[in-house]
Symmetry: C2
Subunit: 265 residues, 2 copies
């Protein structure tokens, strides 16, 4: 097995560290191993409904200590992007508190009503109602441009898979007859650059560990990072792969054992 | 102005007779005029969230007396279609009581859980929640074929326009990565044939009155009915028209006046 010659690790959360609220066996130990080996670690997730503060708390609950600067979420990257490139824009949100927290933290201005929005930000909304969808429809119908935190179709949870933000986007696009302009989440350059910046490393010095071929492994291949696929989430063994990972592991647990044996790292 | 030489009239409801709960001025009188002239009248609507019984009650509240056999809804036509052509199928519903009432009335079997559904029936759901969407996503992801009562993008209401069933369809198609197989609502042959059967007339003997170029006027042109566009709903004066109506009226009110003057009918 090839050695993973990386100074920094980008670690996906859903399907890699967590499955829903549940911690995946061995994930905490693997992260401790990386940290004890002096590797820089950032956590990154396409979950746009969480803030970094929420995420930090969830990781702490799993025995993983980290600071907010080492957490890169599609919510926080969306907020930074809007503040940096569209500082005068007003936004309407179809999403949850974690996203609005990050937008507020970045200083993004909220539109007082959907019709006044320059941008509609769409994210996963696990308590969405018809009224929420309809207000977002009003924004999109009135000319708001659409930025989505991600476009994942489903996410793994305790019961199998659940509808992800693609459902929210699909509802708005199909009813308002518009298209999403920008998708922030992995495998985008926005997420790759934000993660590398947090690590202070170039992509070639990094490895990404994740369960999704379409987002994690794709991002690794597209930006020249090494990539490790774990089979605890969406990808299945023997699946056709558009992007080949460098290494496939059953789970994060294997990372610890291989590292201890001096085989992997 | 051309005379409307028709024995039977198909009258659209939303945007033609009603705007949300509100009755459009002159609609009741126009329908009474048609009835007093001995014209056969059916009411037809793409609203899949209503049952014929609900619709009959709503019409009665507006002073329009009719029987259930003279009401043709995408909900009731969907129910008849499934019962007739897929009598052994089990269905899961993303929709409201009006639709489940019609399915029960037709004797369609409900699936005990989404994963057991042969068909997923999608309709307008004005109180939809994430849980409803997610259960429908489970059905579609597990192989249920999709039939939609209609695919209207928006419907006129008191406040302007609101998200219609295209939003619900978009959410499921985009997240489950599937396509809708059959759309029942106007301008389909299913609705045209159900309306003509209710009238006991051939399409050439009928005229359709409606506010939508894409559903009402299209159906008239596609099946050889005469067509009357009213400007009280979605179509605007001067809009580019893929399907030309035979007659354009400001509202149903004009129908009464023209009929009284012997000009129109």
């Amino acid at each position: 097995m090839a050695k993973l010659d990386a100074a920094g690790f980008l670690i996906d959360l859903d399907g890699t560290v967590f499955r829903g609220q549940e911690l995946i066996d061995g994930a905490t130990e693997a992260i401790h191993t990386l940290q004890s080996l002096g590797k820089a670690v950032v956590f990154l997730s396409n979950r746009g409904n969480l803030s970094r503060a929420m995420c930090q708390k969830k990781l702490l609950g799993a025995g993983i200590r980290t600071d907010e600067r080492s957490i890169v979420l599609s919510s926080s990257v969306t907020a930074s992007f809007l503040k940096k490139h569209y500082p005068l824009s007003k936004v309407w949100v179809l999403g949850e508190k974690g996203l609005t927290d990050e937008l507020a933290l970045a200083g993004v201005t909220m539109a007082p009503k959907p019709q006044a929005a320059d941008w509609l930000v769409i994210s996963l909304h696990e308590t969405v109602t018809y009224e929420d969808l309809n207000l977002a429809f009003q924004a999109a119908s009135s000319g708001a441009r659409i930025i989505a935190t991600n476009r994942d179709r489903s996410f793994p949870n305790e019961g199998g898979h659940a509808m992800d933000v693609a459902g929210m986007i699909g509802a708005i696009e199909a009813s308002a007859g518009v298209k999403t302009e920008l998708v922030v989440g992995k495998p985008s350059w926005l997420m790759a650059e934000a993660a590398c910046e947090a690590l202070g490393l170039s992509p070639g010095e990094c490895a990404i560990i994740g369960d999704s071929l379409e987002s994690d492994i794709a991002m690794g291949r597209l930006y020249g990072m090494k990539s490790v696929l774990v089979l605890t989430g969406s990808a299945k063994l023997g699946e056709t792969r558009l992007y080949e990972p460098d290494i496939v592991l059953d789970s994060m647990k294997d990372l610890t054992e291989l590292a201890k044996g001096g085989i992997l790292l």
